[in-house]
């Protein structure tokens, strides 16, 4: 078990929450490697702590996003059927993998995420004509004084991405937003802010599906989880506030490189 002090765990949670929120992620993608590689926390315990930390930040961010009218609840619920199923499956499979297999799976996933982060596009996907029929799943979005409409396209691709995101979440303790948000934005026609807010809302539910399993297996170490989650809450709130003021493009490229490097390091750890 890790000897890291609660204060150090709190700071780790705050830093990863801040970074994750600035990049539109839950922060688990940074938290699990930091806890395992730098602080010596066993990977299963790190995954469980990450799940609950990501859940807490998703709940906090969603309460703000509801106020801004950015969450598409119908779309989120529909996709959540696939995501929660994937998370449940991932959480069950995680209980049967060895530490080495978890490290290697995490390494491959995190390196792929680094590539995805470098490639994500950030399309606007909005329609100025408000009389357009947006269908059951489409919606309207306010940007400053202007109101735009958007339609959902290629839903099966979004459902598949949600299933994959859920499995990753349940298996590795990540939110899965890094898979869902670019797919919803690039392939399904969802504006990036709505995609990110809807994904965040979904992450709270997704992580619950697998967190119960980790809790039942006794892998939720309360002091570690509590310190990390407590740190992640203010970290993610500050990150959300300052995300508009930092050069996110260069930050994303830097983080893509970091993720590739961390993926390699975790692969070495799992050898």
């Amino acid at each position: 078990m890790s000897d890291a002090s609660p204060l150090l765990l709190f700071v780790t949670g705050a830093a990863t929450g801040l970074l994750g929120s600035m990049l539109g992620l839950g922060g688990g993608v940074f938290l699990v490697p930091l806890l395992t590689l730098a602080l010596g926390v066993p990977i299963r315990v790190a995954i469980a702590a990450s799940l609950i930390s990501v859940m807490a930040t998703a709940v906090a961010s969603s309460s703000v996003n509801f106020d801004r009218g950015l969450v598409n609840i119908r779309l989120g619920l529909l996709l959540e059927v696939a995501t929660a199923s994937g998370a449940l499956l991932g959480g069950l499979v995680a209980g049967h993998l060895t530490q080495r297999q978890l490290f290697l799976t995490f390494a491959v996933t995190i390196a792929s995420m680094g590539l995805l982060m470098a490639l994500r596009s950030g399309r606007r996907n909005v329609i100025a004509d408000l009389d357009v029929d947006v269908g059951v799943l489409g919606g309207r979005l306010q940007e400053g004084e202007a109101v735009y409409a958007y339609r959902v396209r290629r839903l099966p691709i979004g459902v598949f991405a949600s299933l994959v995101a859920g499995a990753i979440s349940g298996l590795l303790g990540l939110g899965g937003g890094i898979v869902k948000v670019p797919v919803l934005n690039t392939f399904c026609g969802i504006p990036i802010r709505v995609a990110a807010a809807t994904s965040t809302f979904m992450i709270g539910i997704t992580t619950a599906a697998s967190a119960f399993l980790f809790y039942g297996r006794g892998e939720v170490v309360l002091p570690i989880t509590a310190a990390v989650a407590l740190g992640a809450l203010p970290g993610s709130l500050v990150g959300a506030r300052i995300s508009d003021r930092v050069a996110t493009r260069s930050l994303k490229v830097l983080m893509a490189v970091v993720l590739l490097g961390v993926g390699l390091r975790m692969a070495l750890e799992g050898r």
């Binding site: 078990m1 609660p6 315990v45 609950i52 859940m55 807490a56 998703a58 709940v59 906090a60 969603s62 309460s63 509801f66 106020d67 009218g69 969450v71 609840i73 119908r74 619920l77 529909l78 959540e80 059927v81 929660a84 199923s85 998370a87 449940l88 959480g91 069950l92 209980g95 709270g204 539910i205 992580t207 619950a208 599906a209 697998s210 967190a211 119960f212 399993l213 809790y215 039942g216 297996r217 006794g218 892998e219 939720v220 170490v221 309360l222 002091p223 989880t225 509590a226 310190a227 989650a229 407590l230 809450l233």
Partner: protein, 99 residues
């Protein structure tokens, strides 16, 4: 879907965090596993409560297809809880939640 359910969810989520954060902090400061567990469980059940609220809101709006969708999500979460309850007890009580 009206803005009403969003307001309810926002209120419930904010309340849950307002309860969980002090419990976690007090648990860390006093080394109390019970307080820590109460804080962690408060966070964990909040999304479940959110889905229950959405199911009720969809049913009240007579939006039956999405009521069904919300109930399927609720069923998945409930099956996760059921599977968790059937897990063998933790190997080391010192490392995890209190027995």
């Amino acid at each position: 879907m009206t803005g009403g359910v969003e307001r309810v969810l926002r209120w419930v989520f904010t309340l849950a965090l307002a309860i969980a954060a002090p419990l976690l902090l007090a648990g860390l400061l006093t080394h109390s596993p019970r307080l820590l567990e109460a804080g962690v469980l408060t966070v964990m059940v909040t999304p479940l409560v959110g889905v229950v609220i959405l199911s009720v809101a969809m049913a009240r709006a007579r939006d039956w297809p999405f009521t069904a969708v919300a109930l399927v999500v609720l069923a998945i979460l409930t099956s996760s809880l059921y599977a968790a309850a059937r897990q063998p007890p933790p190997p080391s009580p010192a490392m995890s939640r209190p027995a």
